[in-house]
């Protein structure tokens, strides 16, 4: 009865930045459509607490470019303020979408705390960008993606998840899990068959089709013969509102680190390990 691929608990990391709030909105919608529980997590960065404890530390304003003294009391109040805003946003998003939710504040190293919490969740959602507002993967996201929780969805601000799911399938176990994940999320399915040659692609396609047939589902197929991540990214760019479900290891990623590969995509990417 219990399906290991079913998504029951979604973890979303919130730090009150616009990116993370966007991730929260998307997570709440997804949780509502899957009937999953939404767990919010705010991490008080242990490094900042330590920093504030040092004598004579200055903080330079991001907008004003003015330096001012930083002490433990001010830092603590700033962090509390962020956590409170995160909790507020969480309550509001969950209220709108009518999902079960919880919110936790943890203290420690951000990456450690996130990965630890992610291990207990079926899906981990985080915002893509870093503080600079650029489109590339932020430092925190980079570290988390590399460490590889079971399923990680990286989204950009403002995106809505009304998806066509583009599942990348190469016959590996990870890609089978990716397919199962896609099926459990539901929606219009498209399968990108990654293969060395056309014969193999044909074989893989019939494999997927057979699998889907059992569940009474249908999908569109695209062959990605000897393709790389950029080709896939170009292909999905022409489609509106698409989530790419990508196995954590794939011939597509050959010669590239996972974060580099993720930078190619403009759409949300769900990594499956």
């Amino acid at each position: 009865m219990s399906d290991p691929q079913k998504i029951r608990r979604i973890l979303v990391a919130i730090d009150a930045s616009p990116q993370s709030l966007a991730a929260l909105e998307a997570a709440a919608e997804l949780a509502a459509s899957l009937g999953a529980e939404l767990a919010g997590l705010y991490v008080e960065d242990i490094n900042l607490i330590r920093l504030a404890a040092l004598p004579a530390v200055l903080e330079t304003g991001g907008t004003s470019a003015r330096s001012r003294r930083l002490d433990a009391r001010r830092m603590a109040s700033q962090l509390r303020g962020q956590a409170a805003r995160a909790a507020q946003a969480m309550a509001a998003a969950a209220g709108r979408t009518q999902v079960r939710w919880s919110f936790t504040v943890a203290r420690g190293s951000i990456e450690t705390e996130l990965l630890q919490a992610a291990a207990e969740a079926d899906l981990f959602i985080l915002g893509r960008a870093g503080w600079s507002g650029k489109r590339r993967l932020g430092s925190t996201a980079r570290a988390v993606v590399v460490a590889g929780p079971k399923r990680t969805l990286v989204i950009e601000r403002g995106e809505r998840l009304l998806p066509t799911l583009m599942i990348v399938y190469d016959g590996s176990d990870r890609s089978k899990r990716a397919l199962d994940t896609g099926i459990s999320i539901g929606g219009y399915l498209a399968v990108g068959i990654v293969a060395e040659d056309e014969a193999e692609a044909k074989k893989l396609q019939s494999e997927v089709a057979a699998n889907l047939n059992l569940k009474g589902l249908e999908a569109r197929y695209r062959w990605l013969v000897r393709a790389d991540a950029r080709e896939l990214a170009d292909m999905v760019r022409t489609q509106e509102e698409c989530i790419v479900i990508l196995p954590g290891e794939s011939p597509l990623l050959e010669g590239k680190s996972l974060p580099e590969a993720l930078d190619e995509f403009e759409c949300p990417v769900l990594l499956v390990q």
């Binding site: 330590r50 404890a53 304003g61 470019a65 507002g133 650029k134 590339r136």
Partner: protein, 830 residues
């Protein structure tokens, strides 16, 4: 030699139906031309032909004479062969938006240009989004944005690397960035920091300070970089827009290459589109171009309004469209207000404020009549505030400049426009009554400069057999035009007779078309009532009688007063010093005559004739003049060698209103003579006519009404063959008397006497010879003149002997009675 009464034929200039050789007016050729207005027509043709400034036309004449019709026909005839004027448009002036530009285009091209620009706006809304969603644009935009990110990243990366070298890290704090000493990726603890050797610690602190300064510098550059980014994006947008719009504009420039104004405008449009590309595309998708958060609600609506108003600027306001015109325009503006003449600038409200733009400029009659003809009613024009001054300003400057009356008077200071003036070249005709024209020329010198052509419409024309035939054709044409039954020759003849009666002259015909047309409409009605298909004499007579009856109430009331002896008028017997005078009353269009009892009393005095009417200020100046002439006549005729020692008083009995005119002066003189000579005057006769210093009787107005007025009284009391009226001989040509009067004369029951001199009149009135003076000036004893002379000599002797004594004269006395009020008019003299 006794005066002979007039023959019946002399009493009315009949029109003989037998002279017409048609059956009904349907057989007659249509009369397209106007008759009887050669002077006005020549003036109009001159006015149309002459092209110099200021030769506008003032056509004046009585109301209903057909001025508008004739002016319009003359204008239309000229306009048909003239070139169709240009179309005019207003377009946005991108440099000075409050001064819209005027563009001239060949006739019909205006609407084409307007359509082309509408298409352009449409295309713009399609082409711009396509351009800004293109792969090319998105990639280039990303390039620009990435470049900035990389710049920032590089700067920060460099800082991070330098920090790393000395064991430091750049950390993000909730409000900014901070530099911290780290070990193995973790900030060192305060204990460890404190535990460091002081030298190492100081070095670390120095490094931190240095890096902090660098960090500050770097962050200070960020706004500059962002501005640079925005500028680059703007440049990119312009470049792309230029490419997108350039093609559209080029097509139009090729099409309208002949008009430099349009080409100039199109170039300005291109520049403006490129400058405002954000506002235009904002109407659609904003995310591609601006970083603004997508807005909903009232602000979004406002933004959309902004885009619409941006696009409005590329529209064309086609002010004057001659696309379907043939020849030059002929415009009659029925309601010549300032704005209807010179155009107006409308306003709309936006968020409670009044705003306007060139699209809200509306043309006036002068715009529509430019290079053509405009007809205006002068009286209406003068009644409209500012309209006359506005028209003159436009004609003088030969420019159509749009100003609101409020602006002209500086009443209003709402935001408004100052559109580029349009050159004006129009021929304007004002229509009005003569009085308006004369007053205008007298009091407004400027109007003389601007309306140099006077077209003077006559209200009558000569009557002869040729013009009667022409008139018959006119009647036929009127019947056709107004969809009336045709007239037979008898009907036509009756209309012609009435036409003469309207102008009170048997040798003239009225060309006041409204009166004739009214009569024909009414005759047509009566013909219909009698079930006739052709209008006959009977119908026309019935129409005339009905017209009279409808306006007749007051006349009837006056006559009733006389019959009931409330007002005393004697029509039989003889009285000393009492004469029946005749006066004309006018109420609106309807005039009628009525007798008045004029009495005179004399005594010895200082040679003055007292006009009681004047003493009580009921007599007008002309009446007084007539009376003064009498005393001069008396003095010079009867008292050449002696002082005129007479005191006489004259009065219109039972007259309670003003009296004007000198048509009663002969009657007054007869009363005086009768009183002086103590000879009774026959009351069966009535008198009209003015008199000069030599005793000659002169023509008066309203002769027909006067005769008929007395005739009606006598007829009611019973005509006995003695009744009659004395009229000036020179008025015989004006006689157009009613049928029943003519009939009575023919039967010898009534007489009309043409009088040339006072002596002729007094003989008729008294049946006593007037008496020819001999060489010494004295007259036979048993004549009127002899008796007068003797009486005056008696007065003079009495005065000279110094025994002047107030003495009553013996004469007939009068009964007095009261009466209703009245208004008396003697009519104007010919």
């Amino acid at each position: 030699m006794p005066v002979k009464a007039l023959e019946p034929a002399q009493l009315c200039q009949r029109c003989d139906p037998a002279q017409f050789d048609f059956k009904t007016t349907e057989d007659l050729e249509h009369l397209a031309d106007f008759i009887g207005q050669p002077r006005a027509i020549e003036a109009l043709e001159f006015g149309v032909g002459i092209r110099q400034k200021g030769y506008n036309i003032f056509a004046f004449g009585p109301e209903g004479i057909g001025k508008e019709n004739l002016v319009r026909k003359t204008f239309e005839a000229a306009a048909a062969s003239e070139r169709v004027p240009s179309d005019w448009c207003y377009v946005q002036n991108f440099e000075q938006p409050h001064k819209p530009r005027a563009l001239e285009l060949p006739a019909g091209k205006g609407s084409e240009f307007k359509r082309d620009m509408e298409q352009f706006v449409d295309d713009l809304q399609n082409v711009l989004p396509i351009t800004f969603e293109s792969e090319e644009y998105r990639n280039r935009l990303q390039e620009v944005q990435e470049a900035l990110n990389e710049q920032q990243e590089a700067a920060l990366g460099e800082l991070r690397a330098r920090a790393e070298q000395v064991g430091l890290a750049v950390l993000r704090t909730p409000a900014g960035l901070a530099i911290a000493p780290v070990r193995d990726g973790e900030v060192i603890s305060p204990e460890e920091f404190q535990g460091m050797p002081s030298e190492q610690r100081e070095e670390l602190e120095k490094d931190i300070t240095d890096l902090q300064e660098e960090l500050e510098k770097m962050l200070m550059n960020v706004p500059g970089w962002q501005r640079e980014l925005r500028e680059q994006i703007t440049d990119l947008n312009r470049e792309m827009a230029d490419i997108a719009v350039g093609g559209l504009i080029r097509q139009l420039v090729e099409k309208y290459a002949e008009s430099s104004g349009i080409v100039e405008h199109l170039e300005a449009v291109q520049l403006d589109v490129v400058r405002h590309v954000r506002e235009i595309t904002d109407e659609g998708d904003t995310s591609q171009i601006s970083d603004r958060p997508s807005s909903r609600g009232p602000l979004a609506a406002l933004a959309a309004g902004g885009a619409r108003s941006t696009l409005r600027r590329y529209q064309v306001n086609l002010l004057v469209d001659h696309g379907s015109s043939e020849g030059a325009p002929v415009i009659y503006e029925d309601n010549p207000t300032f704005q209807n003449l010179l155009g107006r600038i409308e306003h709309t409200t936006q968020l409670g404020a009044l705003i306007t733009d060139f699209n809200l400029i509306k043309p006036g009659a002068l715009h529509r009549a430019n290079d053509g003809y405009l007809i205006l009613d002068a009286r209406k024009l003068f009644q409209e505030p500012f309209a006359w001054e506005g028209l003159k300003r436009a004609l003088r400057s030969e420019q159509l400049r749009m100003e609101t009356p409020g602006q002209v008077q500086s009443f209003i200071s709402t935001v408004t426009l100052d559109p580029e003036p349009i050159p004006l070249k129009a021929k304007v005709a004002l229509l009005g009554e003569p009085l308006l024209y004369y007053l205008l020329m007298e009091h407004d010198p400027e109007s003389r400069e601007l309306f140099r052509v006077a077209s003077d419409f006559d209200d009558q024309m000569d009557r002869d057999s040729e013009s009667q035939m022409l008139y018959a054709r006119l009647i036929g044409s009127l019947a056709t035009v107004h969809d009336l039954r045709p007239l037979d020759p008898g009907g036509v003849a009756r209309v012609i007779e009435h036409s003469s009666r309207i102008v009170s002259d048997g040798r003239k015909l009225s060309i006041q078309m409204n009166h004739i047309t009214d009569l024909m409409r009414e005759a047509n009605y009566w013909a219909g009532e009698s079930g006739r298909e052709i209008v006959t004499t009977e119908d026309v007579s019935k129409a005339i009688d009905a017209q009279i009856y409808r306006s007749d109430r007051i006349r009837e009331r006056f006559q009733e007063q006389i019959h009931r002896k409330t007002v005393l008028i004697d029509t039989a017997g003889a009285q000393v010093g009492q004469v029946n005078g005749l006066s004309v009353y006018q109420f609106g269009d309807f005039a009628f005559g009525r007798p008045s009892r004029i009495t005179a009393r004399v005594r010895m005095g200082k040679g003055e004739v007292l006009d009681i009417e004047r003493e009580v200020e009921l007599g007008g100046p002309i009446h007084s003049k007539g009376v003064l002439i009498l005393s001069s006549f008396l003095g010079s005729r009867y008292s050449v060698d002696r002082q005129l020692s007479l005191s006489a008083s004259l009065v219109f009995e039972q007259s309670y209103g003003g009296i004007e005119g000198d048509s009663a002066s002969s009657a007054e003189l007869y009363a005086l003579l009768s009183s002086l000579a103590d000879v009774p005057v026959k009351q069966s006769l009535a008198v009209t006519g003015s008199v000069d210093q030599y005793g000659r009787v002169q023509a008066i107005g309203g002769v027909n009404e006067k005769i008929e007025g007395f005739f009606d009284i006598c007829q009611t009391r019973g005509l006995d063959g003695n009744h009659g009226v004395l009229i000036p001989d020179s008025n015989v040509q004006h006689l157009m008397l009613r049928d029943d009067v003519v009939q009575a004369v023919a039967e010898g029951k009534f007489h009309v006497y043409p009088i040339e001199t006072i002596d002729q009149g007094i003989e008729l009135l008294t049946d006593m010879p007037a008496g020819e003076p001999d060489e010494e000036g004295s007259c036979p004893e048993n004549t009127v003149n002899g008796k007068v002379r003797a009486r005056l000599a008696g007065f003079a002797e009495e005065a000279e002997s110094g025994k002047a004594r107030q003495d009553d004269d013996s004469e007939g006395d009068q009964a007095e009675d009261k009466s209703g009020e009245e208004k008396n008019e003697g009519g104007s003299e010919s």
